[in-house]
Symmetry: C2
Subunit: 178 residues, 2 copies
């Protein structure tokens, strides 16, 4: 049964809990010698900063079994979410349906890094048609239809967005919500 | 981007789109000789109608890879959901997180039987903290916190529930919503 005593805090995975961009760059570096510190133009997706011919490869990477299993967590994410769990009913909400092979990897990744989040509090979605008090997400498309407080988690692709309350890292989330 | 022109209709999977009870009975029949037409007392879960010693087996079945892959769709479900898709933004919302091994099976099952539902409209959840206009579900625990119109899809375990608008089958859903 849903715990109604604490406000619901929904948190995205890719680029918020997990450093997915770094994982893509690691593979681009390994396979095509792309520099790990390639210039990421503000407001652009990673693939828009890559040379033609390799810039479509990210979809193949993301479809591979195992891609989402060993991504490093974002700095301070684990400790902060654990602390937030005392004050909020924390839900992890990831748009995992785009990549069928990500489902088990994301589930297992959460079990390894966030074992204190029960299965009842995990949602793998397409559209994030969720009902919560706060949503932390790096994608405007997920925030735009959300009815609660919207926190845009900084990622290079959203640096030109000004319409949302912004958090740059998990220390800032802690400062704001704890 | 979410289609906002049509009302959102959220539909559960087990015991609503899929005849999961029949799948459990098929395995209980195969392994323990339980009759397929065992008396199912109104208001009881299947396992509450089974002899001690085998009544916990259902959790082992549900955790097996493949269990959710070949369940028969409910009669008239496919045609009705297809017709509903012309008038509603249909979302499939299944509490799949309880069984890690069900994730890929449920995704593939939907691809086979409901290929007209795009990945954007599939949600695998724990708690169904969703925002929609209508929810069709057989579980009171999923309906109780829902803010829209609640349709209880009949299953033996919910026969004693009187608090909700009830639909007994997909023909009744069609009659009500089309």
């Amino acid at each position: 049964m849903i715990n109604n005593e604490k406000p619901r805090l929904a948190i995205d995975m890719d680029e918020v809990l997990t450093d997915t961009l770094r994982k893509f760059l690691t593979l681009y570096n390994r396979d095509y010698g792309i520099a790990m510190d390639i210039h990421q133009a503000p407001g652009k997706e990673l693939h828009e900063n890559l040379p033609e011919g390799v810039n479509g490869q990210w979809k193949i990477y993301a479809n591979e079994k195992g891609f989402f299993r060993d991504i490093p967590p974002m700095p301070d994410a684990i400790e902060t979410v654990k602390a937030l769990s005392a004050h909020y009913n924390v839900y992890i909400v990831s748009a995992a349906m785009e990549f069928r092979n990500s489902l088990e990897d994301k589930f297992d990744w959460l079990g390894e890094h966030f074992p204190f989040i029960p299965w009842t509090n995990i949602l793998f979605t397409g559209d994030k048609i969720i009902s919560a008090d706060i949503l932390i997400d790096d994608r405007v498309r997920n925030l735009v239809h959300f009815n609660g407080r919207k926190l845009l988690f900084t990622s290079p692709h959203n640096l030109l967005v000004n319409e949302y309350e912004r958090v740059n890292n998990w220390k800032e989330v802690a400062g704001l919500l704890l």
